[in-house]
């Protein structure tokens, strides 16, 4: 790993960050975590913040994520939605996997939704699309359409240079 700075530098690798599935839903605007640095019942949240907060921020660069340490007797995560409503998530004495699963289920996009967005992003939802990244590069590949002007020149009345008298 290049530049192995910090306690667990794997958290800073692209592969680790890209592989996370913590993409927040559109409603979520703000995430704040309150916990203490010492305490048996804070252990799960400490680990969650240590391992998963970089991933969360990487996947949601426009969402504010704040941590408040050593202010509360019991740890909790508070999420603010876009209509002003805030949702509390109690994480007292929970282990890190439990918190991760619960958080992902309630506030993040599900696997199916992510797959669908990936599908849409690759323009594969509409089979008629052509262009970069689709099955067909250009409309001239489709039988029945005007053939590629690079191979067969267009007729004169379709050429702009002829129509404007410049040919």
């Amino acid at each position: 790993m290049p530049f192995m700075k910090g306690l667990a530098p794997i958290r800073r690798t692209l592969q680790y960050l890209e592989s996370s599935k913590l993409v927040l839903r559109e409603r979520v605007q703000l995430v704040s975590v309150n916990y203490n640095t010492h305490g048996e019942h804070h252990k799960g949240v400490q680990e969650f913040v240590f391992w998963h907060l970089p991933q969360l921020q990487y996947k949601n660069p426009n969402i504010q994520i704040a941590t408040f340490r050593n202010l509360t007797p019991t740890p909790f995560i508070r999420i603010f939605l876009d209509d002003g409503e805030d949702v509390l998530m109690d994480v007292d004495s929970k282990s890190r996997p439990e918190i991760y699963d619960h958080f992902r289920k309630i506030f993040c996009k599900s696997d199916s939704k992510l797959a669908q967005e990936e599908w849409e992003r690759q323009s594969r939802d509409n089979p008629a699309n052509f262009g970069w990244g689709c099955d067909r590069q250009c409309i001239c590949e489709v039988p029945g359409q005007v053939p590629c002007p690079g191979i067969i020149p267009l007729p004169k009345f379709m050429r702009g240079k002829y129509k404007s008298g410049k040919a």
Binding site: H41, T74, D90, I106
Partner: protein, 229 residues
């Protein structure tokens, strides 16, 4: 084919089109213009006009640029307005895809919030139990330490009393100023001889000038500790 005058043709002044135009008839369009001749649709293109390409008059450069600018601005504005209205319609309409999706999402959101609150209740119960346990442990610790303190205080008191009593006893043996000279005289009269000798059988012979033969068998003092033989 002779496109002649038809007796049932009427040229209406209000601007109605005749279905079968006649090259001699005057067809009035909205009363402001008149059309002398319209080529019928089924008549083919004339020989002189078949391969005609309409001439495109070139505009001066400045005019072209200005025109293009105006067109661009206009189309940009129209596109923006159209898009905005479309989006608003999608957003506001009750039966659009967006509205349905929004409903579904809302239902899903409510369900997730419900799940979250259930989980919170469960964790709250666990937390209450833990806090109660910790509180009881604290109480026990405090009472234990209190008892220990009380015991220690008692012991210290006892110790103090003991020391006081011993000292009181000791005080009785102090020599007062009045008996000072008498005490000196008694001390001088009774010197204490710390010298002693030990023999191999463990007998102690006290005194500087005591000889073993002088002490009788029965009076011999034995060492308290066992002698290794």
């Amino acid at each position: 084919m002779n496109i002649g005058v038809r007796s049932n043709l009427v040229a209406l002044g209000c601007g109605a089109r005749l279905w079968y135009p006649v090259h001699e008839a005057m067809v009035t369009l909205t009363g402001s213009q008149t059309v002398r001749w319209i080529k019928p649709r089924w008549v083919p293109v004339a020989k002189s006009k078949m391969f005609r390409i309409p001439e495109r008059k070139p505009l001066p450069l400045e005019e072209e640029v200005e025109l293009r600018c105006l067109y661009n601005n206009y189309y940009m504005a129209m596109r923006a307005i159209r898009r905005h209205l479309c989006e608003e319609r999608l957003r506001v309409s009750d039966t659009s895809e967006l509205a349905i999706k929004a409903e579904e999402e809302q239902a899903e959101h409510d369900q997730l919030m419900e799940h979250n609150s259930q989980e919170n209740l469960r964790v709250a119960a666990l937390r209450e139990a833990r806090i109660k346990k910790e509180f009881e442990a604290d109480l026990a610790r405090v009472t234990a330490s209190k008892e220990k303190l009380a015991k220690d205080a008692e012991k210290a008191e006892e110790e103090a009393l003991r020391i006081i009593n011993e000292t009181q006893e000791f005080v009785k043996t102090f020599i007062k100023r009045e008996d000072f000279e008498k005490a000196i005289e008694t001390a001088l009269a009774n010197p204490v001889d710390y010298n002693f000798a030990i023999d191999q059988q463990g007998n102690i012979f006290r005194g500087r000038s005591t000889r073993p033969e002088d002490v009788a068998e029965e009076d011999k003092e034995k060492l308290l500790f066992a002698v290794q033989s």
